[in-house]
């Protein structure tokens, strides 16, 4: 009994630490880390690829930041409410830690803010690109999904339509042609 509980706790700790680590890389909003989450979730057996795509859709359609919602979702699936609470808290702990340590560090190290932000921007573009390819590549053979993705892309960059309506619209379309 004791061994079993100990093992459960160790496994839960492992999951929480994955989200904590990923949280440090979440610059420029949540999309930079969704690709990394995909890899970790599938590798560790928390979600299958199909379940991952479901989790992303649900996280985007419910209120709240997508990365936080993903963390909550996976935590809840694996360990119920406790898992959901811990995953959520540990994912958002990194900005709190960095904010409070930056004030202290700033007294000792002088960096050029403009250059730092420009460098952070490049590193973030790489991560968002990774997320995009991770989501796109497994679906290249599904031409209907590619068409939906391409139309959404054009609407997103060319119009001011709130993406949530495009996503919901694509969902209803999917219910009839992909279901």
């Amino acid at each position: 009994m004791y061994m079993k509980v100990k093992k459960e706790v160790e496994m839960m700790l492992k999951m929480i630490l994955i989200f904590f680590k990923i949280g440090f890389l979440a610059f420029g909003g949540g999309w930079s880390i969704v690709g990394l989450m995909q890899e970790e979730m599938i590798k560790n057996g928390y979600l299958s690829f199909a379940q991952f795509t479901e989790a992303v859709s649900i996280s985007q359609m419910t209120p709240g930041p997508v990365a936080v919602n993903m963390a909550t979702y996976v935590g809840y699936r694996q360990y119920g409410i406790i898992g959901a609470v811990l995953n959520t808290v540990f994912l958002v702990l990194p900005p709190v830690i960095i904010l409070f340590s930056a004030t202290i560090l700033g007294k000792f190290i002088k960096v050029d803010k403009k250059k730092l932000f420009s460098s952070l921007g490049i590193a973030t573009v790489i991560l968002v690109c990774l997320t995009f390819l991770q989501m796109l590549l497994p679906n290249v053979t599904e031409y209907r999904i590619i068409i939906v993705a391409f139309i959404t892309f054009l609407l997103y960059i060319k119009t001011k339509i709130d993406p949530i309506y495009i996503i919901l619209g694509a969902g209803f379309l999917g219910a009839f042609i992909l279901g």
Binding site: K21, F24, L25, F27, G29, W31, E40, S57, I58, Q60, T62, P63, G64, V66, V68, T72, Y73, Y76, R77, A84, V85, T88, V92, P95, I98, L99, V111, K115, L116, S119, L120, I122, V125, I126, V128, C129, L130, F132, L133, M135, N139, I145, I146, A149, T152, F153, L154, Y156, D162, P163, I166, I167, G169, A170, G171, F172, G174, A175, L178, G179
Partner: protein
């Protein structure tokens, strides 16, 4: 004041769909109309929020709370932002568990996933357009993405290396221009 902050962030978080960037303008308006914060302070906070890792809405709440009412304010504001999506996700996860075999639900999630892929492509496009590109950045981006597609275990190293390399490159270029 503490409760005021909590309640305002709770309301904005519950009623805004579509993630952090949809929430920020609503927060700005609410904070001003309640006389909690002036616009200039809000924009200062927004700049810092974007330079921290983590979801933008969470970071804005963290910084606003801290500025207006210290650590307690930061705690109340972030709690307010996190609670609505938390329960929305727990609810959605329980519902999906029941209906995940339903063809229409599957089709809906698949269709919306297609739209999310397109939207991430759009986010990437906009992010990349904001960068000032040069050959060095392009090469680093392509190399970074390819390396990470092959191996995601070294993501932290790649992320830091890109930042350091670009920072050094820009510093050198800057000093050459000065001379």
């Amino acid at each position: 004041m503490i409760f005021n902050l909590f309640w305002m962030f709770l309301k904005v978080s519950a009623l805004t769909l579509g993630g952090g960037y949809a929430m920020v303008p609503v927060m700005d308006k609410q904070l001003q109309s309640r006389g909690i914060m002036i616009e200039k302070d809000f924009y200062e906070i927004l700049t810092i929020a974007q330079s921290l890792p983590g979801p933008i809405a969470f970071n804005v709440a963290l910084l606003c709370g801290k500025k207006v009412a210290g650590i307690k304010g930061a705690f109340a504001s972030t709690l307010g932002v996190l609670i609505p999506p938390f329960f929305a996700i727990v609810l959605a996860a329980s519902i999906i568990k029941k209906y995940s075999d339903n063809v229409y639900v599957k089709g809906f999630l698949k269709g919306s996933y297609g739209a999310v892929i397109g939207m991430v492509g759009g986010v990437l496009y906009k992010m990349a357009s904001k960068q000032e590109w040069n050959l060095f950045k392009v090469i680093m981006c392509i190399a970074g993405v390819l390396i990470l597609l092959a191996n995601k275990d070294i993501v932290v190293m790649v992320f830091l290396l890109v930042i350091i390399l670009n920072y050094v490159y820009e510093s050198k270029k800057g000093s050459r221009n000065d001379a």
